[in-house]
Amino acid sequence: MLLEVDHVAKHYPAPDGESQISILSDISFKTDSGNSLAIIGPSGSGKSTLLNLIGTLDRPSSGKISLNGTELTKVKQGELAAIRNQQIGFVFQQHHLLPQCTVLENVLLPTLPNPHKETATSRAKKLLNRVGLEDRLHHRPGQLSGGECQRVAVVRALINQPMLVLADEPTGALDASTAERLGELLVDVNKELGTVLIVVTHSSKLAENMHRHYELRNGYLMG
């Protein structure tokens, strides 16, 4: 299995400093290459927290998460960054493109920590071409539409050829037609590149395009 989530829980200290607030409880699932799955649920149900745990941006309070056989919960912080860089791609609700960089530079940013990046530029151009932004390479984010920015964010997530792509409400900030096109793009890319795609979304339409979907309710994952 490429990704295994095994009895994962997450809680935070309450404001009184003594008790705990539970966000996620006993989450378990597995998925393999080429699969896509959607996680849906109401606001505050812990969807983004789960995505952050899988994406190694946060650590679970208990349980374990394994990616491609590596138990992420046991990996040191410094090594996690390398795993994040090489094996995981992120797409957020906001595109979070760096305003000081051009489209091409934004896409190439994840290749900075990678010492083998000779082919990165041609791959970036190819991917941008794939999402229809070949004539926007040297534009800055401020010169693009919201949908275009989000497509750049998708390309940025794919530039290092990750085995896992995590999308946190990727269409949440887009209008319906743009959101639909982006959803299609994600599904197509998942098929083409054989990655695991996990999407947190409120959009049932987007969720239906995934191989599987789970619902998070009160911290528990419903199959």
Partner: protein, 1097 residues
């Protein structure tokens, strides 16, 4: 795309927010560079002054009250093949026809043409006519004279014989010279010539050597030798010593040899009357038959019937004395036996004067038994035994005698005159040498002559043998590397670089905090970017490195700007030192001197400090979670725990308790240091308490009534670090300003207290010409025309002075041999005068002054100095030792056993008067007097002294004035600190404004919401004001209270006048400026449309 390209792009994109960081970093570097350059400039100036004041003089010998032959310089020049000159140096006073009081402490030099070889001036420039003088600029300015004007110069009538020696007259202590000013010498010539290490030029007056020598009856004599630079393999000082050994003659050490052919004896005598103690063993150790003689003038020789013969010489130690004569017996001449009808076995009483302190004559008696009577044809009846006492030798009549003792002419009979006419000074009686030395031995010597049999030597051989065995250093020929010493003293001069760094410390800290704060603000606006980079797999380290990369570029740019501005800042500081802070450096001419290395050090230090500030500010940012970085504050607030609150309160409480404990201990022991510690701890405690309170407010979720005040106060907890930094910065600034302001002292009101720095004495008097008599006695006062003081209850404490470098804070150089004052420690002990700030463990705890009376060893004696001198002037601590060369060429070690607190003795080292006389016997009289009188008589005493001692070059000042002169420097430093601290506070207030602006900006959407829900603009304005006003007031109040406790001892001291109004004004200014900044910032930030912010929300 590379890291560097990314950093460069980010830099350029965020240039607006980075510009402020760059400027703050530039301020930090400016302070560092500017302060360090001031240090270089002062050091450079000191070295230039040394080069100016010494010209080509590299080595010098000052023999003080010993005078050698001026021609010795030529002989030394021939031997060393380098320019050498000799000069007469004496202190004097100068006045013009118009001036009311003379200018004292003028250095009068009798120079020869060879003096010109040490300066880049023409020979003609140094050629002085017989009644002419060249004076330096400083003296000309002081006198208000120019070339061609006439001046009256009065110099001490010094001579080969020390004035304090017994039987030496001390009348006509000065000689006047009326001179015309031939030229005025400036710093580029020899005008500032000075062998003392001091940046302030002395008052100099140069006259022809022949003129001065003639006026002082010191023909062909000199007491200073100047040497140019010497090369060669051996030590230059050894070269000089060897050359002296080769070239000196007996006349150079005031020794005379005469052949008494009829007696077959060769006699060694001294021009100083008494053969010096260091010569005696050398002369007696020669393998020749010799005997010492001591001939002295008695007041009377009295038989058992009370009949007396007045004013007779008695000799001790003659080789012709009967072998069986004891120390209690006397051999009398037939003339005396006839006069007093003496027979062997009868008693004869000798009355004679010995010298007490300050030439106080003490008549003593000793009775002898007549051993035998010799005829006037005997070898004992020898007129050559009488030394050449001035005022006696060469007199035609007894009535013409003018020795250093009172002569009652009525006692002189015709037969006495007849004896003088026939036998001159032939001793009328003889005693053993032991008996004579027991009665008349003194610090100037125990013999008046040594006689050798001429059968194995000749006068020339004897002279040569003695000179061979004498050590030049023992005779005062101690060469000093004056130029090296001066340059070294300049290198180790008061470090104005460090001083200004310390004084500018608060600006520096404020600038660095601002740098860090502005940088973090700039970075915080890019929190999303950091979160994204983090998600993309950039590690915390690499993100930090990238951000610091930007920081480095900013710090580099700021550093370059700061380095340039630093030079300007240095110029501003130098300008300040030349004008408003002039007291800190006196009349020193300060020259700008930029050393590239210093510039580099300042630049790199600024860079490192800025980088450190930025690293401290952002180190936590890269560790935040993606949620926090992408805009959610809630997660951050959740991380606070009750435990953390409790720990913070605990630390605050413990620190507070420790502060109170120190306060109580300090109060009991009146220890100012503990009070300062308590104040500082209280400041720390208050900041911890504030932090704990902010944390506690964060956790407080219980239902409470919502008021505007509560909401405003709660807002402070949103950015705890920011709130704490703002309040803390203001508190520290206020603490320093108040603490420094309160330490500005006015010592006037404690002046009459014995334990104060004045010792309870009223005046400090210095005279150019020493006072040789005791002004506490009727005779002494009569001699100086001070009889009127008898009714004014005045007492004097004379202090002997051995010249040295001024080690007070008025001298910027690092001194190794300060002036020595010989004091009577018993008086200070009985008065419990002065207070010891520091003392060694072995000092007498009950009577610290009396420790001065107990030498540790032959050449190690205790000394006391002002603590300021020990610490700053000498760079030492109590227990350390100062090394001098005494008058006999021996090393004198003065171990510092105590440091006086803020005393009038700044600049000097105090030793016991008796030990002073032992090591410096030739120094006659007292140049320093401290005077005790009542407040009511102060002005009358001052007038009387000023009038009576004007020809002695009296410089009279009250002890309060003297202390205030020293405190002026301290107060100037405090002024500098206050001014620079004020700048720092302005930066602090500016930072406070930026924090406020930032806070408001971050909450625009929240404020927009309030506006949208119907809050009037005025209410929103008040809300913001409440939050920030609280920070401002907390900072000011905690800082002020802590500082008040820290300086409580100074505030409560009876003599201290704390400038409360000034401090209050500064505090009001801080609060006022802070509020104005806040209002302006709030107004500007809230100006405009808040709707976009609301839409974003």
């Amino acid at each position: 795309m590379t890291y560097f390209q990314f950093i460069r792009k980010s830099m350029l994109f965020n240039w607006r927010s980075h510009l402020l960081v760059l400027l703050a970093a530039a301020v930090g570097t400016t302070i560092l560079v500017g302060s360090l350059i001031v240090g270089d400039s002062v050091r450079y100036s000191m070295q230039q002054i040394t080069l100016n004041r010494l010209g080509d003089v590299n080595y010098a010998i000052e023999t003080g009250d010993r005078y050698f032959q001026a021609g010795l310089a030529n002989a030394l020049a021939d031997t060393l093949h380098k320019p050498v000159t000799s000069m007469l140096h004496i202190r004097g006073l100068v006045k013009t026809n118009l001036s009311k009081s003379p200018v004292g402490d003028v250095q009068v030099y009798g120079i020869q043409s060879s003096f010109s070889k040490f300066w880049t001036v023409s020979d003609s420039a140094i050629k002085i006519g017989f009644d002419e003088a060249i004076i330096n600029n400083r003296l000309a300015t002081k006198l208000g004279v120019q070339v061609g004007d006439e001046i009256l110069v009065r110099v001490e009538k010094t001579g080969v014989i020390p004035t304090d020696a017994p039987l030496i007259q001390d009348t006509d202590r000065s000689v006047a010279l009326r001179l015309t000013i031939h030229a005025i010498a400036d710093a580029h010539g020899f005008g500032e010539f000075n062998l003392r290490t001091n940046q302030v030029p002395p008052y100099n007056l140069f006259v022809a050597h022949d003129l001065l020598a003639t006026k002082l009856d010191l023909s062909d004599r000199a007491n200073v030798l100047l040497f140019a630079e010497l090369h060669g393999e051996s030590d230059p000082l050894d070269q000089i010593q060897n050359a002296i050994k080769q070239q000196w003659t007996l006349a150079d050490v005031s020794l005379t040899i005469r052949h008494l052919e009829n007696k077959h004896e060769i006699e060694l005598s001294s021009d100083r009357i008494f053969i010096e103690p260091q010569v005696e063993p050398v002369a007696e150790a020669l393998p020749l038959a010799s005997h010492g003689l001591f001939t002295y003038l008695t007041n009377s020789l009295t038989n058992k019937h009370g009949q007396s013969t007045p004013y007779s010489f008695v000799c001790a130690g003659s080789s012709y004395l009967p072998a069986n004569m004891s120390d209690e017996e006397i051999s009398v001449s037939s003339w005396l036996a006839d006069d007093l009808k003496l027979k062997p076995g009868q008693q004869l009483t000798l009355a004679y004067y010995v010298l007490g302190p300050q030439k106080r004559l003490l008549e003593q008696q000793r009775t002898f038994r007549v051993h035998d009577i010799y005829t006037m044809n005997s070898n004992l009846a020898d007129s050559t035994l009488m030394p050449s006492f001035p005022g006696i030798a060469g007199s035609n009549s007894c009535r013409d005698w003018d020795p250093g003792i009172p002569i009652d002419l009525d006692k002189i009979r015709d037969k006495d005159e007849a004896y003088w006419n026939t036998y001159r000074g032939t001793p009328k009686a003889h005693i053993t040498l032991a008996a004579g030395q027991a009665m008349w031995g003194n610090r100037f010597g125990d013999l008046t002559a040594i006689r050798y049999s001429d059968d194995k030597t000749s006068p020339a051989t004897l002279g040569s043998d003695i000179l061979d065995r004498l050590n030049p250093a023992a005779m005062g020929f101690v060469p000093q590397p004056v130029k090296d010493n001066g340059l070294q003293a300049g290198v180790h001069a008061v470090d104005f670089g460090q001083l200004f760094l310390s004084l500018s410390f608060f600006i520096l800290v404020a600038a660095l905090i601002l740098t860090g704060m502005l940088f973090v603000f700039s970075i915080e606006t890019r929190a999303e970017e950091i979160g994204t980079l983090y998600a993309m797999g950039f590690s915390s380290k690499s993100i930090t490195r990238m951000l610091l990369g930007e920081g480095l570029l900013l710090a580099l740019s700021g550093g370059i700007i700061g380095a340039v501005l630093g030079v300007l800042y240095n110029e501003a500081l130098l300008l300040g030192l030349r004008t408003i802070w002039r007291e800190a450096v006196g009349d020193t001419v300060l020259l700008l001197h930029v050393v590239p290395m210093t510039l580099a050090i300042g630049f790199v230090s600024g860079l490192v400090a800025s980088m450190l500030a930025m690293w401290l500010a952002i180190r936590k940012l890269a560790r935040k979670t993606i949620s926090e970085l992408h805009g959610s504050e809630r997660a951050a607030l959740l991380t606070t725990s009750k435990r953390r609150v409790n720990i913070s309160y605990l630390i605050a409480g413990l620190t507070g308790v420790l502060a109170i404990a120190l306060l109580l201990i300090g109060g009991i022991g009146q220890n100012a240091g503990l009070f300062f510690g308590a104040g500082t701890l209280l400041l720390v405690a208050s900041q911890f308490a504030l932090y704990a309170w902010l944390l506690a407010r964060t956790l407080k979720t219980a239902d409470e009534t919502v008021t505007l005040n509560r909401v405003g106060m709660m807002a402070m907890t949103r950015r705890r670090g920011r709130s704490l930094a703002t309040a803390g910065l203001l508190a520290c600034g206020v603490f320093l300003v108040v603490a420094v302001g309160a330490n500005r002292q006015d010592i006037g009101r404690r002046a009459n207290v014995r334990s104060s720095g004045t010792g309870g004495f009223t005046f400090w008097a210095e005279t150019t010409i020493p006072i040789t008599r005791d002004l506490n006695t009727e005779d002494g006062r009569a001699k100086y025309g001070l009889e009127t003081l008898d009714s004014l209850h005045v007492s004097f404490m004379p202090l002997r002075l051995r010249e040295g470098d001024d080690a007070s804070c008025l001298n910027l150089n690092r001194i190794s041999q300060p002036k020595i004052l010989g004091v009577n420690p018993v008086v200070f002990d009985s008065l419990h005068a002065f207070t010891f700030a520091t003392r060694t463990e072995d000092i007498n705890a009950e009577h610290p002054w009396l420790t001065l009376k107990s030498p540790y060893a032959d050449d190690v004696i205790p000394g006391i100095a002002d603590q300021t001198v020990i610490q700053w002037g000498l760079g030492k601590v109590v227990g350390d030792t100062l090394h001098y060369t005494d008058e006999n060429g021996r090393t004198l070690n003065i171990r510092l056993v105590g440091g006086l607190a803020n005393s009038i003795f700044q600049g000097n080292v105090l030793i016991d008067q008796k030990l002073f006389e032992q090591y410096f016997p030739s120094i006659s009289g007292s140049n320093v007097l401290i005077v005790d009188t009542s407040l009511a008589n102060e002005s009358k005493v001052a007038d009387e002294l000023a009038f009576a001692l004007q020809d002695y070059g009296l410089n009279l000042q009250t002890t309060v004035e003297r202390l205030q002169a020293f405190h002026t420097i301290e107060n100037t430093y405090l002024s500098i600190f206050l001014m620079l601290g004020g700048f720092g506070l302005i930066i602090g207030v500016f930072g406070f404004g930026i924090v406020a602006a930032r806070n408001i900006w971050e909450r625009r959407s929240e404020l927009a919401l309030l506006k949208a829900t119907g809050f009037p603009s005025r209410t929103i304005f008040r809300l913001i004001l409440i939050e920030h006003r609280a920070l401002l007031i907390i900072g000011v109040i905690t800082g002020a209270i802590s500082a008040a406790i820290a300086v409580l001892p100074s505030v409560l001291a009876p003599g201290v006048k704390v400038p409360i109004i000034m401090i209050a004004l500064i505090l009001l200014e801080i609060v006022g400026i802070g509020l104005i900044v806040l209002v302006v910032v709030t107004h500007r930030t809230l100006k405009g449309d808040l709707v976009p912010a609301l839409r974003k929300e």
